[in-house]
Symmetry: C2
Subunit: 339 residues, 2 copies
């Protein structure tokens, strides 16, 4: 399937030029990508002046209504028919586009997408998934990161199926190693929901994943599993603890490196090393959180993503379309329901 990506041009903190330049970079890398650029026509046209390649592959859909970062979910839903975010998602619903990418307000995007696209058959609740860096070359897929504060066992099982499909598509694994996030690895650890979900996944046969039980939060980044599954409360706590600590350590490091002349000199000499660290931790290299479980692909780009980050999010969306993530999830769900 030739991907045609609807871009909410108005959502990012960096404005229309960065969203358009990101799309142009993705287009530059993939000649078959088509685009539907949704937002203020004047601003989009002006940004396209720099990117004739993208212009040739794009259609513009005008909207002068913007969902802001401060908009409550209710406000965003009221303007779902006219906002650039809502119209980008509606294009997916009508088949005019095959996926939508927005850097807008996460809560608003999630609610708008869920209302317009509905959850796919066999999925009770959609989940927000993201890629996190590991010590290895591939990222770990983690979900849910905040769509569902509380979850039942069946939700966790469905998240495992969705996360495994995502990992297979993006990293090409045949059977990604899947684990449930818990406070210990022994079978009796954690909540009833976790123990029940683990039992279901152990019992299921023929799934396109290698379920390996529980993982503790200090092992998420070790590169020892490919998909980490949890409820949205736990996922949010873990993700933000990880983000906060990465910033904390780099802040300490900066402070340490600037605390003496000798250290400053060392810092300059070793800048390639700290650049490598920054590159590895840069969220732009892992950009593209996916709302999984809807009838259509919707990718959230970081609000502060740069051009490369937006291009990554577009590529994630396109890969999920090309590899038909919905069909892959449906296939595994059928295997679970057949048990």
């Amino acid at each position: 399937m030739k991907p045609r990506i609807a871009i909410d041009a108005m959502g990012g903190d960096e404005g229309v030029p960065v969203m358009i330049a990101g799309a142009a970079l993705a287009r530059h890398r993939h000649e078959n990508f088509q685009f539907l650029l949704v937002g203020d026509e004047t601003q989009i046209k002006s940004a396209l002046d720099q990117h004739p390649n993208l212009r040739a592959a794009s259609e513009i859909l005008h909207s002068d209504v913007v969902v802001t970062g401060d908009d409550k979910v209710s406000a965003a839903l009221r303007k779902a028919k006219t906002s650039s975010m809502g119209m980008a998602i509606d294009a997916v619903k009508s088949g005019h586009a095959s996926a939508a990418v927005s850097a807008g307000n996460t809560g608003a995007l999630m609610a708008t997408a869920k209302l317009a696209l509905r959850t796919m058959p066999g999925i009770d609740r959609p989940a927000l998934s993201a890629l996190l860096p590991t010590l290895e070359d591939t990222d770990v897929v983690m979900l849910d990161l905040g769509a569902n504060t509380e979850c039942e066992a069946k939700n966790l099982v469905q998240f495992a199926v969705m996360g495994a499909a995502y990992s297979r598509i993006i990293f090409g694994f045949d059977r990604p190693r899947v684990r449930l996030l818990n406070i210990g690895t022994e079978e009796m650890k954690g909540t009833d929901q976790l123990r029940d979900a683990a039992q279901h996944l152990r019992d299921a046969t023929g799934l396109n994943m290698d379920f390996q039980g529980f993982v503790e939060a200090d092992k998420i980044n070790r590169g020892e599993c490919d998909v980490v599954v949890c409820d949205g409360f736990t996922g949010n706590i873990a993700l933000k603890s990880i983000e906060g600590t990465a910033r904390f350590v780099t802040d300490l490091l900066r402070r340490a490196f600037t605390s003496s002349i000798r250290s400053k000199f060392g810092f300059l000499v070793s800048r390639p090393a700290t650049e490598l660290l920054r590159h590895h931790l840069d969220p732009n290299n892992h950009n593209g959180a996916v709302f999984m479980g809807l009838n259509g692909v919707v990718v959230k780009s970081h609000g502060s993503a740069n051009i490369k980050g937006v291009a990554n999010a577009v590529e994630v969306a396109a890969r999920l379309v090309e590899e038909d993530i919905t069909a892959r999830i449906t296939q595994d769900l059928a295997r679970i329901q057949a048990e």
Copy 2:
């Protein structure tokens, strides 16, 4: 009150000599400390040969039964009357010692302490608290870190009272800034338990704390609050995410610094900076997790703590005794119950 600390000499990964040397270091810093050294008499006496100062301030209580790291809680409880861990705690119960320090198996220590000492009046469930480094000079107190997988609102309120008392004693704050760990800072975020606990803490007057609502997990280390309160599941996830990420970033850094000759040279020049980082993150500088809410002070030292770490844990125990943590908690509980 003159602190007399019962040391479970057998619990640490590093063996009797490190536990004894840690106690000796604490004794060296505080002439009024007394000790009850519990464990194999021959090994303890041999370790004391290096530390005449400590020997002069110590009594030995022989035990040849050890709770191992692999012992299940049930096994540890069966030998509670004869093990070094159990006897150290029993000394607190009988008044023979004023606090116990053990580097043994956390689950076993928690269960043994709870059974022997019981929860103090007004506390429904004890909690495990620890100190985490921040960008500022003082650590943040975090609890519960795993004693209670699920909690009601009243448990969280009690944890807040206990954590605030701990912070006041260790860091000398009059009114520590207390927050509940949540997935957002708006009042309607999170679970019913969190919202109810926040309401209780907002309504309570005259508490020795400044309750400031919710905190997200990426802000734990910013030095913007002094006590972070959560259920034990969430606390374990956050703590291990933090530990894992700190290790992850330092692993990446080491790899980056050794990836080229130029970086290696920079690393040598800037070693004081990375030493400062290591010092700040070193768990030994924040050692001493406290079981709060029992009729007696029990401190868990890291299994892998070094001499300095053990000394820190002993000092934490002594401070909690000297400043009478139980009385401070009781005072605040009375204020809440008077509402």
